[in-house]
Structure formats: structure tokens, C-alpha cells
């Protein structure tokens, strides 16, 4: 057999050929481009078109970006500088406007000597958010608190904060940092106290007004705890709310006055009409987000309730608010309410706007969360019942964690929408960063005629904030992912 073989085959290779690289068209960038950009005649055409569009955009806008001017006192001076450096007829961005007016985009008319207060409140906002965003995670919480500490060190120094405030705030954050090491769960108490602290920092005035206002919640809780054994859970909660409202309506002011007279301590108060720019957008946005979620959850549960009145009220509220455009609600807040209130009432415009924005977002969130509730299999509800849990325990321990997890993407997109909608307050004469501040900057004869720069500046900051929220929601989804798809 072997001889036959030796006669038919003259040469037998006994070593392997070294592997040859794939042909140039089948590897690397060329292959990728052939497969992804030039695979069919249609794709070739689309690719060429895309390249042309990109080329056109870049060639049209690049000189404008490259000729940016940062130091000038007016638009005409910007134009002179551009003409001098890049030749006659060249166009260039005039960022000098941002350099001169950035503080109005950020703080509105907030007095310059008090800028450290919103800056501090913004830093502490993250300290307060950390226990919520990263519940029980010592490492992430510590990281955020460290970042807040670094941020405050730099910004408070730049904003020229008074020494005591500087020290106290650094001590506070350092204390929180220690707290995060010892008992990360307990930091939630700071989060609960933060709204009052933030309100006091931003609006100023007597230190007692936020404390006494927060004491209203203490009254609510006390009445609730004392009343529950005697009259049951829900009536006790109702009585607590009534007691708290009475406290705010009748006792709040005299108590504040008495305490202020006994122990006067306060900071310069700042009026609402001085708020503007991103300070205003963030105040409205963050308050709206923080309060709309719990209200939205309650509304969603109310809509699913068997109790007729609760259900009717929830459905009525949700459908009414969702059926009306936000601008209509804002006009109601700014104009119509004034007709109903007794003459001379001074009901803060920002507060009115916040309340209606919160309601608006809550109605949308209620429907988003109802979607999450509806997505849960019936068995989950039955299992919770079988365990002997009462309604609130079942919601808290079984239903809501799952429903909220399902709804995260929609909840966050509602939040992002809410934050961007804060620019609509320009229509009721508030200084939102996009239209309000831009308009007053353009009304200055020095900057009249400036067009793209304020939009780009404000748009970039909005993008950063909204993109941050979106990335966090994706992180949260990954973290909470329990299925094995």
C-alpha cells in the first residue's frame, strides 16, 4: 500500500506552514469599514452622505470655536478681537459674555457676599443624597462624602465664606464621614434634616423657623404614635396630619418669634425674587423630585385601592393634573392663585411654582409606578397575604421594592423631564437659566445680538446633570438586577 502511495504522490509535506495574515480586505479597520460602512450600495451612499454632513458641520463651526474670545467687555469688542486675530469677516464665539455674566446664569441675583450659601447647600445636597443613592454601601458613601469635602474646601474658599461657616460645614461633613464608617444606615437622619437646613441656607433668616417647621413633623409623629393604639393606624395618621397643620398654621409663628427673641441667631435673609439661573432650576427640580416620588407612590397605591373615596380622589387628581399642560399650571400658580387668596397675602412665588411642579410630576410618577405594580404577578400579592403581612407591610416589604425596580427607567426619565421643565418657569417671569437669564443678558446693550453662546453654555450644564441622572439609573438597574437572563 505504501508503495502505491509513494508512486502517486511525489512530495509529502511533513511540517505545518506558518499561518498567513488574512488578506488586507478581511482584517482590521478595512474589514470593519467594509462590513459596517460599505456593505451595500445603499450603505455606501448613506456613509458618504454622513461624512459630507459631518464635514459640512465641522467646517462651518470649527473656525467659530477656534476663534473663541474669552476676554472682552462687549460683543463689539469680541468682534474686533476676532477680526484682528483671524482676519476680517471671520466669525468667533464670544465666551467673554459667560466670563462676565456666569454668576447670573448660576445664582441669578443672589447677593455676591452670600454665594457661599447656595454653594454649601449644593455640596451638602450630595452628602444628603449619598445615604439614599448608595444605601448601606460604606465605600461609595465615604467616596461621595470625601468628594463633597474636597468640593466644599475649594468652593467655599473661592466664594469667600465666613470662617465660622467654613469650619462648621467642614466639621459637619467630616462628622458624616466618621458616621459613614461607624453606622452608614444612621446617615439617613441627616437626609431627613437636610430640607430644613437647605431652606435655611438658601432663604436665610432666623435659624428657628426651619427648626420649628420641622417640629411640625415631630408633632405629626407623636400624635400618630400616641393615637395608634387607641384609634387605629389610619385615623391616627389623619389626626397627626391635622395636628401638624394646626401647628404650622397657628403655633409656628409665635414659637419662632419667642425663640428668636430668647436666642437670636440668624443669617441675612434673601428674597425669592433674587433667585435665578441654575440655583432656581435646581431648587425647583430637586424639591420637585424629592417630594413627587412619595406623593406619586401614594397616588399609585390610592388608584389601586378598594376604598371608593381614596380611589376617586387619586384618579381625579392624576387625570386632572395629567390632562392640563404644565404651563397652564404655572400660570395658575403665578396669577390665578393670587385672585383666590385674600388681598395682601404674600405667598412666595417659588413655593407656589414648586408645589405645582411637584403635583405635575407626582401625577406622571403615579402612572409610571402603577405600571410597575401592574407588571407584578398576582402571586406576589397573594404570597404577601399568605405570610400574614398587613397592607402596609406587604407594600413595603414585597410589592413596592419589585414594582419600583421595574419602573426605574421610567421614573428617572420623568425626573429628567421634570428637571428640564423647570425652564418653563420663564413664562411666569422667573429667571430660569435658559430664557430668563439669557434675555436679561441680551437686554444689556453690550451683549445684545449674542445668540448661540448662552444656549450652548446652559445646554451643556443641563446635559451634564441629566446625563448624570441617567447613568446613575443604569447603575441602579444593574445593582438591583436579581434575575438571570
Amino acid at each position: 500500500m505504501s508503495e502505491t502511495h509513494a508512486q502517486t504522490v511525489l512530495f509529502v509535506r511533513d511540517t505545518m506552514l506558518p499561518p498567513v495574515d488574512p488578506p488586507i480586505a478581511e482584517r482590521g479597520a478595512v474589514k470593519w469599514m467594509r462590513e459596517n460602512l460599505f456593505s451595500t450600495p445603499l450603505n455606501i451612499a448613506l456613509t458618504l452622505l454622513g461624512v459630507l454632513i459631518v464635514w459640512w458641520l465641522v467646517s462651518a463651526s470649527l473656525p467659530w470655536w477656534l476663534n473663541s474670545v474669552w476676554n472682552a467687555s462687549s460683543l463689539s469688542q469680541c468682534r474686533e478681537i476676532v477680526a484682528a486675530t483671524a482676519g476680517e469677516g471671520a466669525s468667533g464665539a464670544c465666551w467673554a459674555m459667560i466670563r462676565e455674566r456666569w454668576h447670573q446664569f448660576i445664582f441669578g441675583f443672589y447677593p455676591a457676599s452670600e454665594w457661599w450659601r447656595p454653594v454649601l447647600a449644593f455640596g451638602l445636597l450630595f452628602a444628603a443624597l449619598a445615604p439614599v443613592l448608595f444605601a448601606g454601601q460604606k465605600r461609595n458613601q465615604s467616596l461621595i462624602l470625601l468628594a463633597v469635602l474636597a468640593y466644599l474646601l475649594v468652593t467655599l474658599y473661592l466664594a469667600g465664606a465666613p470662617g465660622t461657616a467654613f469650619l462648621l460645614s467642614l466639621l459637619l461633613v467630616a462628622g458624616l464621614l466618621v458616621g459613614a464608617q461607624l453606622a452608614p444606615g444612621k446617615l439617613l437622619w441627616f437626609t431627613l434634616a437636610f430640607p430644613a437646613l437647605c431652606f435655611w441656607l438658601l432663604w436665610g433668616g432666623s435659624v428657628w423657623s426651619p427648626i420649628v417647621a420641622m417640629a411640625g413633623f415631630g408633632v405629626l409623629y407623636a400624635v400618630f404614635r400616641v393615637g395608634t393604639p387607641f384609634i387605629g393606624l389610619v385615623p391616627a395618621a389623619g389626626a397627626g396630619v391635622v395636628a401638624a397643620v394646626l401647628w404650622w398654621l397657628y403655633l409656628d409663628k409665635p414659637v419662632v418669634d419667642a425663640l428668636q427673641a430668647a436666642l437670636p441667631f440668624g443669617i441675612q435673609s434673601v428674597r425669592s425674587d433674587l433667585f435665578g439661573g441654575f440655583l432656581l432650576a435646581i431648587v425647583i427640580g430637586v424639591t420637585g423630585i424629592a417630594f413627587s416620588l412619595p406623593i406619586g407612590i401614594l397616588l399609585a397605591l390610592g388608584r389601586q385601592s378598594d376604598m371608593l373615596i381614596v380611589k376617586t380622589l387619586s384618579v381625579g387628581f392624576i387625570e386632572f393634573i395629567r390632562g392640563v399642560p404644565l404651563i397652564t399650571l404655572l400660570f395658575t400658580a403665578s396669577l390665578l392663585l393670587q385672585y383666590f387668596l385674600p388681598p395682601g397675602t404674600n405667598f412666595d412665588i417659588i413655593l407656589r411654582v414648586i408645589i405645582l411642579v411637584t403635583f405635575f410630576a407626582a401625577a406622571y410618577l403615579a402612572e409610571v409606578i402603577r405600571g410597575g405594580l401592574a407588571a407584578l404577578p398576582r402571586g406576589q400579592y397573594e404570597a404577601a397575604d399568605a405570610l400574614g403581612l398587613d397592607y402596609w407591610q406587604a407594600q413595603r416589604l414585597v410589592i413596592l421594592p419589585q414594582a419600583l425596580k421595574i419602573s426605574i427607567p421610567s421614573i428617572v426619565s420623568t425626573f429628567i423631564g421634570l428637571f428640564k421643565d423647570t425652564t418653563l418657569v420663564a413664562f411666569v417671569g422667573l429667571m430660569d437659566p435658559l430664557k430668563g437669564v439669557t434675555q436679561i443678558v441680551r437686554a444689556d446693550i453690550n451683549w445684545k445680538g449674542i445668540y448661540w453662546e448662552p444656549y450652548i453654555f446652559v445646554g451643556t450644564i443641563f446635559f451634564l446633570i441629566c446625563f448624570g441622572m441617567s447613568r446613575y439609573s443604569m447603575y441602579l438597574e444593574r445593582k438591583l438586577k436579581t434575575d438571570h437572563r
Binding site: 441669578g108 396669577l335 430668563g436 436679561i440 441680551r442 446693550i445 445684545k448
Partner: protein
């Protein structure tokens, strides 16, 4: 019986609501601050500067009213109002006074129950075109594209004008002044039309101002003035006579610089009454006797306000035109101060 109860109730309601609305003067005094509805930002007429201080032609009138009522021109809170919210803000009592380049029209005066107490600026709608278009009159704009802000009276005026002159045009609608200016400069329209004062301000800030001209035709009447609520005549009088006091001051050559000197030395009886040296004119109106002197001291006379904010010498460079005193061929005329 039932009818009389009804009428009684009606009368009480009217009285209460009347009381609620009347007495703005007392409200302002009690509050110690004037709340003035202003523009959200209009070059030369009212806008806050980099440090947040409001300045402008309309703003100065608010300050003058504050000086008259409270004796201090700084005690004003400016509440920015948009075109949509301005009249409601006034009606609902959120502002005491609206000085926001609002045109006095029949329906605003009657249906909206507002009172325009004076005209502090006579404006009118004009056209701006590029010089190389070769047009010297608005009537030659046949077939032109015109940039126009939507939802304004200027849009209707424009349609009327072209219809009356039997010529055609192509509107390019824009949202606001800054966009209009950009579109016009980019060549999206041949002509830009808005109030002549606004055109002058836009032209002044264009990179090639010399290549643009404002056509001579003024196609509408736009008397702009301070507005108060209907039915509060005392407050209306205060605002009206504050404005007239500024006019009389210009007529008599009283400026913020020489007002004290004039008050001490004048022999003119009307000036004496105006500055509170003799008579009790201020007290009759419910303000202090030297109220008008305070106003002139704080903001100057009408001519000074004009020159400082929008007049020749500023970048906007508006001529007095119709807003000159009646003695100089304009329309600004104050009744006798007696």
C-alpha cells in the same frame, strides 16, 4: 324682599372688592416698597445689569414713583413680567404699577379694566433693511421677505400696511428679537420690522451697522406708558403727576443737579409749587410736599432720563422725535401744575 337682599349683598361685595383694590397708595406706604411690573429685559427700557441693579427708561419712572411715594428711589422691587402675564399680574394685585413698554389701546383700556395714565414714550413700527437692497421707502418693499415676531400687534400692523398699499410680502415668523436679528443678519429676510426703538437698538449692536438703514415710514402708533388698575383713581393720579412733574421739570430746566439750588432761589410760582416750596400740592395728593423734588433729585427730569438710557450719545442713539417737549415740536405736554 329677596331682590333687596340680593342687591344688598351685591353692594357689599362690590364695596369689599372695591376696598380690596382701592388704596394702592396706602398699601405701598404700609409696605414701604413699590412693586413695579417690569419687562423681563428690553435694551434701554428696563433690564438688570451684571450686579443685578435694574436700569432703563421705564425703570427710572418706577424709581421716580417710589421717590414720590416713599421718598426713596431705591425702595422698588422689580417684578419681571412676560407679555402674557403682565396685565393679569397688575389686575391680581401682584404689582402696584406696570411700566413695561405696553401700548395704550382701546381694548386694553376698556375690556381689561386698566388705566393708562400717561404716555412716556411715543413709539411706532418701522422697518430695517440692508443698504444694498436699494430701497428707500417701505412702499418699495413689494415681494420682500419680512422677519416679524409672532403673536404681536406688529404682525397685524404689517398685514394692514401691505394690504393698504397693494403690495405683497412674505412673512418669516420668529419668536423673539434676538432670533429676528440673527435671521435678518443671516439673510433669511430682506427686512425686519418691529418698534422703531427696538430697531435702533438692534441696529446699534450689529457688526456692520452702517450697512443697514431704518426706513422713514412709521406704520403704526405705539403710545407706551405706565398702567394702573382701573378704579383706583388716587393711585392713578400719583403715577400720572409723577410723570408730569418730570416733564415740567424739563420744561423749566430743573435737573437732578440743580434742583436744590432752584428750590432755594426760584421766583417762578409753578416751580415753587412743584418743588414743595410753597403750597401743599403734595399733601393734597397724599404724599409729602417735597415728593416731586425727591423724584427729580433721584432720577432727573424727563430729558435726563431719556438722554441717559436711550438718547443720542448712548449706543442706542434715539432722537427725541415725537418725544420732544411740545415747545420743541414733540408731543410731550404736561397740564399746568396748579
Amino acid at each position: 324682599m329677596k331682590k333687596s337682599v340680593f342687591f344688598g349683598a351685591f353692594a357689599v361685595t362690590a364695596l369689599v372688592s372695591g376696598m380690596a383694590l382701592a388704596g394702592t397708595l396706602d398699601d405701598v406706604k404700609a409696605r414701604g416698597e413699590l412693586i413695579c411690573g417690569s419687562n423681563t429685559g428690553l435694551t434701554g427700557f428696563g433690564a438688570p445689569d451684571a450686579s443685578g441693579n435694574w436700569a432703563g427708561f421705564d425703570v427710572d419712572l418706577c424709581r421716580a414713583v417710589a421717590a414720590v411715594v416713599l421718598g426713596d428711589a431705591t425702595k422698588v422691587k422689580f417684578l419681571p413680567t412676560t407679555g402674557e402675564t403682565r396685565f393679569t399680574a397688575l389686575q391680581s394685585g401682584e404689582v402696584d404699577l406696570l411700566v413695561r413698554n405696553s401700548t395704550w389701546t382701546f381694548s386694553r383700556d376698556t375690556e381689561l379694566a386698566l388705566d393708562f395714565v400717561a404716555v412716556n414714550y411715543y413709539d411706532g413700527q418701522g422697518f430695517m433693511v440692508k443698504k444694498d437692497l436699494g430701497v428707500s421707502s417701505a412702499k418699495e418693499l413689494d415681494g420682500a421677505t419680512v422677519c416679524i415676531q409672532t403673536g404681536t400687534t406688529t404682525e397685524l400692523n404689517l398685514a394692514d400696511f401691505f394690504k393698504q398699499n397693494n403690495i405683497s410680502y412674505q412673512p418669516v415668523t420668529v419668536a423673539d428679537d434676538s432670533e429676528a436679528q440673527r435671521q435678518y443678519l443671516a439673510g433669511a429676510c430682506d427686512a425686519y420690522t418691529t418698534d422703531a426703538s427696538g430697531l435702533a437698538a438692534s441696529r446699534a449692536t450689529m457688526p456692520d451697522a452702517d450697512n443697514h438703514i431704518i426706513l422713514p415710514e412709521i406704520i403704526s402708533k405705539e403710545p407706551l406708558g405706565p398702567v394702573v388698575r382701573h378704579g383706583d383713581n388716587q393711585w392713578g393720579d400719583v403715577v400720572r403727576w409723577t410723570y408730569y412733574a418730570l416733564l415740567i421739570a424739563e420744561e423749566r430746566g430743573i435737573t437732578s443737579a440743580n434742583v436744590n439750588e432752584v428750590a432755594a432761589s426760584t421766583a417762578d410760582e409753578e416751580v415753587k409749587r412743584l418743588l414743595g416750596v410753597s403750597g401743599d400740592m403734595g399733601a393734597k395728593m397724599g404724599v409729602s410736599n417735597d415728593a416731586f423734588k425727591n423724584a427729580i433729585l433721584a432720577v432727573g427730569n424727563y430729558g435726563e432720563i431719556f438722554a441717559r438710557n436711550i438718547g443720542e450719545g448712548t449706543t442706542i442713539n434715539l432722537a427725541r422725535g415725537l418725544n420732544a417737549l411740545w415747545t420743541q415740536g414733540g408731543l410731550q405736554y404736561a397740564p399746568p401744575f396748579r
